[in-house]
Amino acid sequence: MVSAILFYLFALMILGGAVLMVTRRNAVHAALWLVVTLLGVAGVFLLRSAEFLFVVQIMLYIGGVVLLILFVIMLVNLDAEARQPRFHRQWLLALACAVVVGAEIVYVLLSGLEAFRLAPAVTAVQTGGSTERLADVLFSEYLLPFEIASILLLVAIVGSVVMAKKRI
């Protein structure tokens, strides 16, 4: 019961924050509503017993990405931008595209609803916590993708510095 109440609380945080983020005129306000959404997603991770991802979500997303976005908003002066229209001219067409995507998702979910009537979850013999098992799999089976991800991050660091620098 408690977990159901928490789920709906986090769902409200996620969806409300997302709607407000998309509709706010001021970019700083949008970034702050994005924080609410990301906190809700972190709560959902905790409900689904993904403790490591909960910590990663708060440290990386809220502490890293949103901070970076706020820095960029402060760097580029958006005062003139805030007085201009929020949505561009083709917003009706874009909204129609989004409605089509939504209808497709609803159709696929409804037609595949039978597949969600799964057998009760297998309660496997759990040795250690969720984070421990995650580390076991990540550093044995998925070691190569892990290393490739580190190369990707290195490329991103170098790339963003090259992009943002005035003269190389």
Binding site: L53, C97, V122, A164
Partner: protein, 103 residues
């Protein structure tokens, strides 16, 4: 229907978040908010991955979520670097004013 929270609830939540992100991505003019909408879409995917990971007691879902987060961080860093370079050259962050390639 509403009370025992099952995997389908998480799937519906994730689909709703993905749709809101799509609307923001397609309709907003400000490129910073377009980048934030991409983060919303990636978070929707992560909710799905984690929900199914717990459902099947398999760690692969969480591992993919970690990779998605790594890619999202890299994308945000490079995207904001491009945005700063763009603002230095064109003095605008509105997506419909960047029309150099438009005929």
């Amino acid at each position: 229907m509403l009370y025992p929270i099952t995997t389908i609830h998480y799937v519906i939540l994730s689909a709703a978040l993905l749709l809101i992100g799509t609307v923001g991505f397609l309709t907003r003019r400000n490129i910073v908010i377009i980048l934030m909408s991409i983060e919303l879409i990636l978070n929707a995917v992560n909710i799905n991955l984690v929900a199914f990971s717990e459902r099947f007691q398999a760690m692969e879902g969480q591992i993919f979520a970690i990779f998605v987060i790594a890619v999202a961080v890299a994308e945000a860093a490079v995207g904001l670097g491009i945005l700063i370079a763009l603002f230095r050259n064109r003095e605008t962050v509105a997506s419909d004013e960047i029309d150099l390639l438009k005929w």
